[in-house]
């Protein structure tokens, strides 16, 4: 790891000033540090080389879970462990509790924050190798497209084929959560889904959150009779990123599906909202036929690469099983 400076401001405004290029005291290469579970590994790999880390844990930023009946607010600095064990999350937003519980390891979840989890960088082995000039790092092509792409995207890939690694993000998107952000120009609130966009053109990152913006908090709307779940498949039972994950939420009206959210993780450069699957479900009668239709629709447009076609049956099975578990 390369040497870096360290700052530990006491207010959000000071943090943002240090992160804003061109503002007083900023040097253009400062990065916010919370749990550090992703940033420090990027720095050790020499992929991220910030000149200064700005610790954001001492500025009174929102941390912890606040019940705001009938909804819930989760501070950006809340650890995954806090979320996973919170009774209200477990009772009303099981997709979120389950997604946090299968992320990383207990030790990592004790320090990793939810904001950091949403904004983590891809785990792609080309991206994480400092000597490979992949497209996402400013190179001119994606070596995964014709290379070792068994872990890569089957949906929405190109020019970057890395997948978004977060388990928590698909769950929050499926739960229609909002994110409250603060930057130099003040605060804004956007759907969590709107935090992400596949990298393209000059924007070689997976998020629309500015480098000088802080993800302050997440607001979960009322669960409103919805049921939800998150299923994940990994190369081993624990401590691995998703080969495929699915966050599913259903609101049933008798035997009819009144509302559905299907969001896939580990298969696309962003948490992948499967709109076609949702359309196939909404208004349909709950049951195996609908689950099959949704599972097939969820993979509409899939374009597997040489080594990752296995993710199609894998993701389909996860969608079907998630829906089955919600309807029984």
């Amino acid at each position: 790891m390369r040497p870096f400076a360290y700052a530990s401001p006491r207010t959000a405004d000071e943090i943002i000033a240090l992160l804003t290029p061109g503002s007083a005291g900023a040097d253009g290469a400062s990065r916010p540090l919370a749990g550090g579970t992703d940033l420090l590994t990027l720095m050790k790999a020499d992929v991220a080389t910030p000149s200064r880390l700005v610790d954001i844990k001492r500025a009174g930023l929102p941390k912890g879970i606040e019940e705001t009946p009938p909804g819930l607010v989760v501070g950006g600095l809340t650890t995954l462990a806090q979320i996973e064990t919170h009774p209200a999350v477990r009772a009303r937003y099981p997709a979120l509790a389950e997604a946090t519980a299968v992320a990383a390891t207990a030790q990592l979840r004790n320090v990793a924050t939810v904001a950091g989890n949403l904004l983590q960088r891809p785990r792609c082995w080309y991206f994480r190798n400092p000597r490979i000039a992949c497209w996402l790092k400013g190179g001119d092509h994606c070596p995964a497209r014709d290379g070792e792409n068994q872990l890569h995207a089957i949906l929405g890939g190109g020019p970057c084929h890395a997948v978004h690694p977060s388990d928590v993000a698909p769950a929050l998107v499926a739960l229609d959560a909002d994110a409250r952000l603060r930057g130099p120009g003040g605060e804004r609130t956007v759907p969590v889904e709107g935090l992400f966009a596949a990298p393209e053109g000059g924007r070689r990152r997976e998020t629309l959150v500015g480098s000088d913006e802080l993800l302050l908090a997440l607001r979960l709307p009322p669960a409103d009779g919805s049921r939800s779940t998150y299923l994940k498949s990994m190369d081993r039972k624990v401590w691995a990123f998703a080969l495929a994950g699915v966050a599913a939420r259903l609101r049933l009206d008798g035997r009819r599906v009144a509302e559905a959210r299907i969001v896939l993780g580990g298969v696309a450069p962003v948490p992948w909202r499967a709109h076609e699957a949702e359309r196939a479900l909404e208004g349909a009668e709950a049951g195996p036929a609908a689950w099959d239709r949704a599972a097939n629709a969820a993979l509409t447009g899939a374009a597997p690469l040489r080594h990752n076609a296995y993710k199609l049956p894998l993701a389909r099975a996860l969608v079907r099983r998630a829906l089955e578990s919600l309807a029984t």
């Binding site: 190798n129 000597r131 068994q150 498949s233 076609a309 389909r316």
Partner: protein, 769 residues
């Protein structure tokens, strides 16, 4: 060798699951591993490594790095007194020529694999050392490389070394294979591919070196081979008696610390600076650059009668040696000798080759070439059984080697082979079958057997030595140069000495792994230490016992042969006892030594011409049978091992708990090999240099491994023990593959068995690309 105490029931210490003296220290983090050492004024070292798999070094200027404040020294190949280490491999075939494998301490004009060491730095801090590594001005000109053994052996391929890319080849031709296959009722053909894997020990390569007050270059290092003091001396051009290697308790070796790792670099840096130097490789360095297990491509044709008797096997093996020879020729020899498995096969042809490539080098790893072939020969056995509608145990019972049979290489099996019993025991251990938990899930059982040599090749004339002696208070000291890699190597020696000399185990101290102060015991590799050093300690203890009892004879007025040593006393037949301190005082007075050095020489032999199959290659073999119950998700291809049992005939278990530990650890490491581990290298570039991408099993991934210990009393080790370090890693991949075939009919022929490969084998990917 006759036993002093023959009947197992009469043993007091041997054969019991006594707590190991090293266990508690490890549990409470009190063990001083190699990286835990520090000395006043110590420098920290770092290595400049090649980023390219094949390149010419066109510029290497260390001036700027060397001038940095706090940097003590920067070394390149020019600064190494003798930069080339050579190893002769005896018994190599004429086709390739006598092999004189060479290795450079630091790269000279070119680099042959990514991660190859180019320069060394020692500085006041680790951060400074790393900064200085980056300040070295180095330029490369990339050159074409070869990245598969097939490509390496193709005409016109870029040459990794001047003598050509074919590093070694071995051949066995026994009987008439063509006729055997032509006359077979069933012939099964299979091609199997195994992958590059890493030892992935908890403790990366590490050590500290200093010039001691006697002027000797002393290196305290995590190694399986303290005899590398000779390599260090050769590189430094100093007499061998001016270098001392102290081996620490290891956080795992698995063959990865059999070759030289940090010790030569540490010796160089200590010699050049005159100061203590520490070098600890990062996990990334270890995964990037350390020698790994050979990937193999194996082609098998197996013919059997309608009754299931194997008539012939035609076998082709091709391994990837990576960029340097290391132990590749010997690894390939192990594969060649074990290629037909623990079975009686009248006609066998083996063509085995290993080629240089610009991939990371491969060398020793637990199983040492006896592992890859298990996946092939046990998959073949399963296919033959299925083709004939035979039971998995039955086909192995019919074909199992028996005493008096010959291996394809001509070696006569001189000890009992318990294979049928081992198969029956593990098969019974998995009764009753687990019912599938969902409609999309199938459950199956798989069996796999193996044989693994213990002890070194007989023409290497292996030996070990140990000293056993009493202090005046009757406490006992064992000195033996054995490195303890975590298998209980040192503890078992204490048990053996305590047993023979009648001392309670708490009164035994053991000093190990010091090339200057402990009698040399050879490498902790090849499942040889219990066998070799166990026999050396046994011999020293018995001879010491005789020596002491001759004195006791006079003191007690009873014949030595009638005296017993137990409970820290000498017992006369009439019930009188003699306390050890009294006996020892009398020894001192009479000038009888209270300690004794013994050397154990393994049965030796001359090199065998494998092709004509003329004789003995290894002293003996350990046999095993493993059974796996797996669950296959037929929609996703995800495989889960539900239950696992592993049986080995260990001759006699000196410490059953350590034996169980070896069996369980080996099975888990073998399951990692079978199901998830792979060093992914693309055109020589390693993509898996962290534990985030190089996945090894966690506790959640493996079921309880049920160890089944069979004690035939047929081994060549102390108390008739056999080696058990390597054998348990062999069968798991094949057991899982066979279980998947049982569950689904799909045959997996490529490791690791990932969800992708299972889904493909199940036809779930048909219609996609």
């Amino acid at each position: 060798m006759a036993d002093v105490v023959a009947a197992p029931e009469a043993l007091r210490v041997v054969g019991r699951a006594v707590p190991r003296h090293d266990a508690r220290d490890k549990a409470v983090a009190a063990t001083a591993y190699a990286a835990d050492w520090a000395l006043p004024g110590m420098l920290h070292a770092a290595v400049l490594r090649s980023p390219y798999p094949s390149a010419r070094i066109v510029k290497l200027d260390t001036a700027r790095a060397a001038a940095m404040p706090g940097v003590a020294v920067v070394l390149t190949a020019r600064d190494v007194p003798r930069n080339t280490l050579a190893t002769d491999v005896p018994g190599q075939t004429a086709t390739v020529g006598p092999l004189r494998a060479t290795l450079h301490v630091l790269a000279e004009d070119r680099v042959r694999h990514q991660g190859e060491p180019v320069a060394l730095v020692a500085a006041e801090t680790l951060e400074l050392a790393r900064a200085a590594v980056e300040a070295i001005d180095v330029a490369y000109e990339r050159t074409p490389g070869v990245f598969t053994p097939e490509a390496a052996l193709a005409p016109g391929a870029p040459q990794v070394h001047a003598a050509g890319n074919l590093l070694a080849q071995w051949r066995i031709a026994r009987g008439d294979v063509a006729a055997a296959l032509a006359g077979a009722a069933v012939v099964v053909e299979g091609e199997y591919t195994t992958q590059l894997v890493d030892a992935a020990y908890l403790e990366p390569e590490s050590g500290v070196a200093w010039i001691d007050s006697d002027g000797v270059i002393t290196i305290r290092v995590s190694t399986q081979v303290i005899e590398h003091f000779r390599d260090v001396a050769e590189v430094l051009r100093v007499p061998q008696n001016r270098v001392r290697v102290i081996g620490t308790y290891l956080g795992g070796g698995f063959g990865g610390k059999e070759d030289v790792t940090v010790e030569v670099y540490l010796g160089l840096l200590a010699l050049k600076t005159g100061r203590p130097v520490k070098m600890v490789w990062t996990r990334q360095e270890s995964l990037l650059a350390r020698a790994k297990r050979h990937p193999y491509r194996m082609r098998y044709r197996t013919g059997a009668t309608a009754a299931g008797e194997i008539l012939g096997q035609q076998i082709e093996l091709l391994g990837d040696a990576g960029a340097y020879a290391y132990l590749s020729a010997l690894v390939l020899l192990y594969s060649t000798v074990t290629a037909a498995g623990p079975y009686r096969v009248p006609s066998v042809e083996v063509q085995a080759r290993v080629a240089y490539t610009n991939n990371p080098p491969t060398s020793a790893m637990r199983g040492f070439g006896g592992m890859q072939t298990v996946f092939a020969y046990e998959s073949q056995m399963d296919r033959v059984a299925r083709a004939l509608g035979m039971d998995a145990v039955e086909i192995r019972r019919i074909n199992a080697l028996r005493r008096g049979d010959r291996l394809p290489v001509g070696q006569v099996i001189e000890t009992h082979v318990a294979l049928p019993e081992l198969c029956e025991r593990v098969w019974a251990a998995l009764e009753p079958p687990t019912p599938p938990r969902a409609p999309h899930v199938r459950v199956g059982l798989g069996l796999a057997c193996n044989l693994q040599p213990y002890g070194r090749i007989v023409w290497l004339h292996d030996w070990s030595s140990a000293w056993v002696g009493f202090e005046m208070d009757g406490s006992l000291v064992v000195r033996c140069g054995v490195p303890d890699v975590g298998g209980g190597q040192a503890s078992s020696l204490c048990q053996i000495a305590a047993e023979v000399l009648g001392v309670s185990l708490e009164r035994v101290s053991v000093h190990i792994a010091d090339s200057a102060l402990t009698p040399l015991a050879g490498t902790t590799t090849a499942s040889r230490q219990l066998y070799m050093s166990g026999n050396a300690v046994l011999k020293a203890s018995r001879e010491l016992r005789e020596q002491l009892l001759r004195v006791a004879e006079t003191m007690l007025g009873a014949e030595a042969a009638t005296l017993a040593m137990t409970g820290d006393l000498v017992h006369a037949p009439d019930g009188r006892t003699l306390a050890l301190p009294d006996l020892l005082r009398e020894c001192a007075r009479a000038g009888v030594p209270r300690g004794h050095l013994a050397v154990y020489n393994a049965p030796a032999g001359e090199p065998v011409d494998l092709a004509t199959g003329s004789g003995k290659v290894f002293p003996d073999y350990t046999y095993g049978a493993h059974a796996a119950e797996v669950e296959v998700d037929t929609e996703t291809g995800v495989v889960r091992v539900l239950r696992y049992a592993a049986a080995h005939d260990v001759g006699r278990a000196i410490n059953p708990q350590s034996v169980e530990g070896q069996i369980q650890g080996g099975a888990v490491q073998g399951l990692g090999y079978g199901c998830m581990e792979e060093v992914l290298v693309e055109d020589g570039i390693n993509l898996t240099t962290s534990f985030a991408t190089y996945l090894i099993p966690t506790a959640a991934d493996v079921p309880d491994v049920e160890p089944v210990i069979v004690e035939s009393g047929e081994g060549l080790g102390p108390f008739n023990a056999r080696g058990i370090g390597e054998p348990p890693i062999g069968p798991p991949a094949a057991a899982v593959a066979n279980a998947i075939a049982d569950a689904t009919g799909a045959r997996l022929t490529r490791l690791p068995i990932t969800a992708e490969r299972v889904a493909r084998a199940l036809g779930r990917l048909d219609g996609t690309n």
